[in-house]
C-alpha cells in the first residue's frame, strides 16, 4: 500500500514505524507494518485480533519487533528506550489504576516515576483535572470512581509528562456514549492545542470517522491510510464501514453499534 498519503499537517514526524514484523510462534501478529505519524489525530481501526494491542506493546517497548524499527521523535526505541518513553503518554486498554490509592496519589506516583518534582506534579495534575472538570475527585479513592472518571484520570496521568505522542488503546471500551464523546472531544482539542500526535486504537467506526487520518489494520497488515473520505473514494464505497469491509475482504454485516 502507499504510505505516503496526505497527513493532517506538515509537521515533523512524531512516530515512525518501519517494516515491523511480530509473530507469536507461527501466528503473525504484525506483518510488515509501516507508517509515519505527524501532529494530528490518527485512528487505528481494526477488529479484535487485528494486531492493535501488539502494535501498542511494541510502541511502548514492552515487546520488541522481530524485525523493523520504531522511532519516537527521531529516537530509536530499540536503542534509547528511556528517552523515547519520555515522549510518550499512554492509556492502556486494560484500566491500570491503583484502586486503593486516591486519584492524586496515583498521579503523584506516576509523575515521580517520570522524575517530576512534587510542585510540577501538583500544578499539572490540578490543571488537567480542572480542565476535565473532575478536580473535586482528587482526594477520592480510585475504587469509588465511575468507569468514565477512572478513564479520565488515566488520561490525566498520560498527559502529566506533556507527551509529544499520545497512545490511546481502545480507551473508550466500557464507557457510556456521553463519556466516550467527552473523552474523544477533549483529546481532539488537546491534539490541536498541544500539537500532539494521537494514535487512537478503536474498533468503532464512529470514532474512526472523527479522526483526521485512519490507519486500517486487519490480520496484522496495515491495509490503507487516509481520511474517511479518501478511503471511501479509493474503495468506491459510501461509508467507512463499507470501505473497511472492502479493504479487508471481510463479510461482516454492519451492526447498529457500527462496530467492526
Amino acid at each position: 500500500m502507499n504510505n505516503q498519503t496526505t497527513t493532517p499537517t506538515a509537521s515533523p514526524v512524531a512516530l515512525s514505524v518501519k517494516n515491523v514484523h511480530k509473530s507469536y510462534g507461527k501466528t503473525k501478529a504484525l506483518d510488515d507494518v509501516s507508517f509515519d505519524l505527524q501532529q494530528g489525530f490518527y485512528a487505528l481501526l481494526g477488529p479484535n485480533g487485528a494486531g492493535k494491542s501488539t502494535l501498542f506493546q511494541l510502541l511502548t517497548g514492552l515487546f520488541v519487533p522481530d524485525t523493523g524499527s520504531i522511532e519516537v521523535s527521531g529516537i530509536d526505541i530499540s536503542k534509547r528506550l528511556t528517552n523515547a518513553l519520555a515522549n510518550i503518554g499512554i492509556v492502556f486498554q486494560q484500566p491500570a489504576l491503583d484502586l486503593d490509592l486516591t486519584v492524586q496519589a496515583n498521579l503523584t506516583f506516576h509523575g515521580r516515576l517520570r522524575g517530576m518534582s512534587t510542585h510540577e506534579i501538583k500544578e499539572r495534575s490540578h490543571d488537567e483535572l480542572s480542565r476535565l472538570k473532575i478536580d473535586d475527585i482528587a482526594n477520592k479513592t480510585c475504587r469509588t470512581l465511575s468507569g468514565g472518571n477512572r478513564r479520565k484520570v488515566e488520561l490525566v496521568r498520560a498527559l502529566l509528562g506533556r507527551p509529544k505522542v499520545l497512545l490511546m488503546d481502545e480507551a473508550t471500551v466500557g464507557l457510556d456514549p456521553a463519556s466516550r464523546d467527552l473523552l474523544m472531544n477533549y483529546v481532539h482539542e488537546l491534539c490541536v492545542e498541544r500539537k500532539m500526535s494521537v494514535l487512537w486504537a478503536t474498533h468503532l467506526i464512529d470514532e474512526a470517522e472523527q479522526a483526521e487520518q485512519v490507519l486500517v489494520l486487519n490480520k496484522g497488515k496495515l491495509l490503507e491510510q487516509g481520511n474517511a473520505e479518501q478511503l471511501c473514494i479509493k474503495t468506491q464505497t459510501d461509508n467507512l464501514l463499507d470501505a473497511f469491509l472492502q479493504l479487508s475482504g471481510e463479510t461482516v454485516k454492519p451492526t447498529e453499534t457500527r462496530q467492526i
Binding site: Y24, T27, A29, S53, T54, Q57, T60, G61, L62, F63, V64, S78, L81, T82, N83, L85, A86, I88, I90, F92, Q94, P95, A96, D98, D100, L101, A105, T108, F109, H110, R112, L113, R114, G115, M116, S117, G161
Partner: protein, 269 residues
C-alpha cells in the same frame, strides 16, 4: 538531574509499597503469627529434645528458643520476599506492571527499586518480630539488633531477588501457591534455620547436610545469626551477595523483552 529523577522514582516505588502494606495491615499480623508460633509453640516444645552444643557464634550453651530466632527472622524475610513476588504477579494481572515498565527509567532500575521497596518492608517486619522476641524474653543481645540490620537487609535483598525471578516465570496468581510450596518449604527446612548443620551430619542425613550447606537461605540465616552476636561470617556474606547478584541479573534478563520476557509472554489480548 538524572540522579534526582532516579531518586524520586525509587522513593515513589518504596512509598507506594509502604502505603499498600498499610492498607493490608493483616499482612503484618500473619507475618508475625507464623514465626511467633514456631518460637512459642515449636521451640518451647522441642526445648529439651534438641540440645544445641556450643558452636560459633555462641560462646556458651544457649536455649533452643534462642538458637531458632535467626532462622525465624530468615523466615520473615523469606515469606515477605515471596509476598513481594506475589504482588508483582498481581500488578501484572492488574496492568500496573505494564505502567511501571513503560515509565521512562531504565528497566533494571525500576526492578531494583521494586526490590528495595520489598526489602525495606521485609526488614521492618523482621524488627517487629525481634520486638516480639523481646516480649517473650528470648535473650538476644540489644547491640545485636543494630549489627543485624545490614545482615537482614542483604538477606532480604537476596530473597526479594529470588521472588523477582520467580515472578518472571509465574504468569498467573493461581499458579503461585504451588510455586511457593516448591520454594519456601525446601528452602526453609533444608537449612540451618531449625537445626545446626552438624546435627544433620551426625544423624546420617548426608545428602540433606550437603544440600543445606549450599542452600543460600542457610547463609542468610547464618549471616544474621553471627551479626546478632556482633560477629562476622565472611563465607555467608559472600554466598548471599553472589546469590543476590545472580538472582537479580536473571530477573532483569527475564523482564527484558528482547531476551526473556518476549519469548515467555503470551500474545496480548
Amino acid at each position: 538531574m538524572p540522579y534526582t529523577s532516579y531518586l524520586r522514582a525509587m522513593l515513589a516505588i518504596i512509598y507506594r509499597e509502604m502505603v499498600k502494606f498499610w492498607h493490608q495491615r493483616g499482612r503484618l499480623l500473619s507475618a508475625l503469627v507464623r514465626p511467633a508460633l514456631w518460637l512459642v509453640v515449636f521451640a518451647a516444645g522441642f526445648q529439651n529434645i534438641f540440645g544445641v552444643s556450643i558452636i560459633p557464634p555462641y560462646e556458651t550453651y544457649i536455649e533452643y528458643q534462642e538458637y531458632v530466632v535467626p532462622g525465624l527472622l530468615g523466615m520473615v524475610l523469606l515469606f515477605n520476599g515471596m509476598q513481594s513476588s506475589l504482588s508483582l504477579v498481581y500488578d501484572r494481572e492488574m496492568g500496573l506492571m505494564r505502567l511501571l515498565l513503560t515509565a521512562p527509567q531504565p528497566r533494571w532500575f525500576l526492578l531494583f527499586s521494586k526490590l528495595m521497596a520489598g526489602t525495606v518492608l521485609s526488614v521492618l517486619q523482621a524488627y517487629a518480630f525481634l520486638v516480639l522476641c523481646a516480649v517473650f524474653q528470648v535473650g538476644i543481645p540489644w547491640d545485636g539488633w543494630l549489627y543485624a540490620l545490614p545482615a537482614m537487609f542483604i538477606g532480604g535483598m537476596m530473597l526479594g531477588s529470588l521472588g523477582l525471578l520467580l515472578s518472571v516465570y509465574v504468569k498467573q496468581l493461581e499458579n503461585f501457591a504451588g510455586t511457593m510450596n516448591f520454594v519456601i518449604f525446601p528452602m526453609f527446612f533444608i537449612s540451618t534455620a531449625l537445626y545446626p548443620l552438624w546435627k544433620l551430619k551426625e544423624s546420617g542425613a548426608e545428602v540433606v547436610y550437603y544440600m543445606a550447606s549450599v542452600n543460600p537461605f542457610t547463609h542468610v540465616v547464618e549471616l544474621i545469626r553471627f551479626a546478632l552476636y556482633g560477629k562476622f561470617n565472611g563465607l555467608s556474606l559472600a554466598v548471599v551477595v553472589i546469590a543476590t547478584v545472580i538472582f537479580f541479573l536473571l530477573a532483569v534478563r527475564g523482564y527484558n523483552p528482547q531476551r526473556g520476557m518476549a519469548k515467555m509472554s503470551r500474545k496480548p489480548s
